[in-house]
């Protein structure tokens, strides 16, 4: 298989797509989000579980279920590992940095940001394929939406993410 494909499908991505971390919905969540990508029908339901015993809420864990391509599944799996135990503000910063990576057209971000993203930096190659960016972002969009619901105590919404259909 050619180099472009091994660049895109890094081993980290293939591994996470095969063994998805955080897969399986857990109850006791503070917020939930359901996102679909109407282009391909991929979907994810993601829950955030908060630890509110301290001065600022911590993201205790994420649980999720969904179906989709290896990029979307691996991205949600990597996300699960990255945000475990971080503050809500840090989770938001991670999501924003990942979005920046997806808009980078395949260029690496600063080494500090790269380090912050950890395994999620393996998705750099995805940014060169515009049709796949939304696959990688699906889980992150669900995370932000679920956190927003958790923080406003709003009931989880069944909503589309506003991506356009193809035809």
């Amino acid at each position: 298989m050619n180099d472009a494909m091994t660049q895109l499908y890094q081993q980290v991505i293939l591994d996470h797509a095969r063994e998805r971390h955080g897969y399986g919905l857990v109850t006791g969540h503070a917020g939930e989000s359901f996102q679909v990508n109407p282009t391909c029908g991929d979907e994810i339901r993601l829950r955030v579980h908060l630890d509110t015993t301290g001065p600022a809420p911590l993201l205790e864990r994420v649980s999720w279920e969904g179906m989709g391509c290896s990029i979307s599944q691996a991205s949600a799996s990597v996300l699960t590992d990255l945000v475990r135990g971080v503050s809500v503000a840090q989770a938001d910063e991670l999501a924003e940095t990942f979005r920046e990576l997806m808009n980078s057209r395949g260029r690496s971000l600063s080494s500090a940001k790269d380090e912050m993203l950890g395994d999620a930096a393996a998705f750099t190659g995805v940014a060169q394929y515009p049709a796949r960016i939304k696959c990688a972002l699906l889980g992150w969009m669900a995370l932000r939406d679920a956190l927003a619901h958790a923080l406003t105590q709003a009931p989880p919404a069944e909503e589309k993410n506003g991506m356009n259909n193809d035809d």
């Binding site: 895109l8 797509a17 029908g41 989709g68």
Partner: protein, 430 residues
């Protein structure tokens, strides 16, 4: 399709055809020759189509059906001659062919005209098109969203009920479900050939069932007209929709065929300039069809391009082209069917189907399949192909689809199959 060897394209003819498509010469993804297996989504354009559109803008451009100057006359003639060519291509009269933006608009035109008829517009002539709470519209599980959602909406607006013919596990319309067509049925809308499974519908049987209860039939002929000889009069349907861009023509133009007396009875949908007779400050009378349904400035250059496309296909000969594509389809099915871990959705043998072949790869999402093939220069479609209910019926979320065109070669199909056979290994599937 019955074929004989001498009806198909010769190697020399196929080479000449390929030379007519400038885009096929380009490479993609770091120098890979392009293997375009996505003609069911949109076809590539031969140079004569591009030239015809350009020539119109270079020499004859003017607004049609208005103005008496020389250019306006020439443009109007070009526009109406294009209509004659495209109408003749599907065996209908030119005054029974309405230009639309695309096939989706053509289907919506019928649905909205029925909606307008249902609130009394065009009465009493339009009464046969009116629907209400006692009426039913029948579709099939195999439909593209374009031939499903407009009918859902018509039913929501009028109180009519939507029912459907089911499909079998192999993607064929299940004739045992024909009993949903009853005295309550006002219209049956079905595809001629599925854009997912490639299955050709049993139009004769469905039309007979509809005729028996006095229901109208609308045929979505988008996938059939580019690949098979299609005679809409012989099929005895009341309406048919198809598009230019899937049959080597430009985007931005489609057509609605309607039986003359039905078009005459139909109230207009889009209203405004060009489609009127007498306008006062309080009322308007409407032009006869097809003009009644062509409000505003029309897609003249596209009509000329489509004419060139229809002429190009007619020159090749649709029977010869269908035989050639049947041969390619049989080869494509043979190659895909024999790859471990790959399942074809729909008929896996070449009878009564066109060359759109959808499949799933065990353990690999269609997006990932498409990505690996794309890296080798192969363009296929991935996703639900605007047919979510059909995918749900066949038990999958989405699929990959390879579809052949007039320029497809056996060598391209072999190249595609060789790369498809390696996809599972790349993703570590045993």
């Amino acid at each position: 399709m019955s074929t004989t060897a001498e009806q198909t394209l010769t190697a020399a003819e196929l080479a000449a055809v390929r030379a007519d498509f400038p885009l096929l010469e380009r490479t993609v993804r770091d120098g890979q020759p392009l293997v375009y297996l996505d003609s069911a989504a949109t076809s590539q354009k031969p140079e004569c189509v591009i030239d015809a559109e350009q020539d119109f803008y270079l020499r004859r451009n003017a607004a049609v059906h208005r103005g008496a100057h020389a250019l306006a006359e020439e443009a109007t003639t070009a526009y109406e001659e294009a209509r004659e060519t495209v109408a003749a291509f599907v065996g209908v009269a030119s005054d029974e062919l309405v230009w639309t933006k695309n096939a989706t608009e053509a289907i919506n035109l019928v649905a909205y005209a029925m909606s307008n008829a249902s609130v009394g517009r065009g009465a009493p002539a339009s009464a046969a098109l009116a629907v209400g709470p006692d009426d039913e519209i029948v579709v099939t599980e195999a439909e593209h969203h374009a031939n499903l959602v407009p009918w859902q909406e018509l039913c929501a607006r009028t109180g009519a009920a939507l029912r459907y013919l089911t499909v079998t596990d192999t993607g064929r319309i299940d004739l045992t479900s024909l009993d949903v067509i009853t005295e309550r049925t006002k219209l049956v809308a079905l595809t001629h050939a599925s854009n997912v499974t490639g299955a050709i519908s049993p139009v004769t049987e469905v039309v007979a069932a509809a005729r028996a209860v006095g229901a109208l039939v609308l045929l979505d002929a988008c996938q059939s007209v580019p690949h098979l000889p299609v005679d809409l009069k012989a099929l005895d349907v009341d309406f048919a929709a198809f598009s230019g861009h899937k049959m080597l023509g430009p985007t931005g133009i489609g057509a609605l065929y309607g039986r003359r007396e039905l078009l005459e009875a139909m109230p207009p949908v889009l209203t405004g300039g060009s489609m009127v007779e007498v306008v006062t400050m309080t009322s308007t009378t409407y032009a006869p069809p097809p003009t009644r349904f062509e409000a505003g400035t029309q897609m003249v250059a596209q009509s000329v391009g489509w004419q060139a496309a229809a002429a190009y296909l007619a020159e090749l000969g649709m029977p010869a082209l269908a035989a050639h594509e049947a041969h390619l389809t049989a080869h494509l099915l043979d190659r895909v069917r024999t790859i471990d871990g790959v399942q074809i959705l729909g008929p896996s043998t070449p009878e009564d189907r066109i060359g759109a072949v959808a499949f799933v790869v065990d353990g690999v999402h269609p997006h990932d399949v498409g990505q690996i093939l794309d890296a080798a220069g192969i363009a296929i479609r991935v996703g639900h192909h605007c047919a979510q209910p059909l995918h749900r019926r066949l038990g999958v979320q989405s699929s990959a689809r390879a579809s052949i065109g007039v320029h497809t070669t056996i060598a391209e199909i072999d190249y595609f199959a060789e790369h498809l056979a390696r996809v599972r290994e790349f993703f570590g599937r045993p």
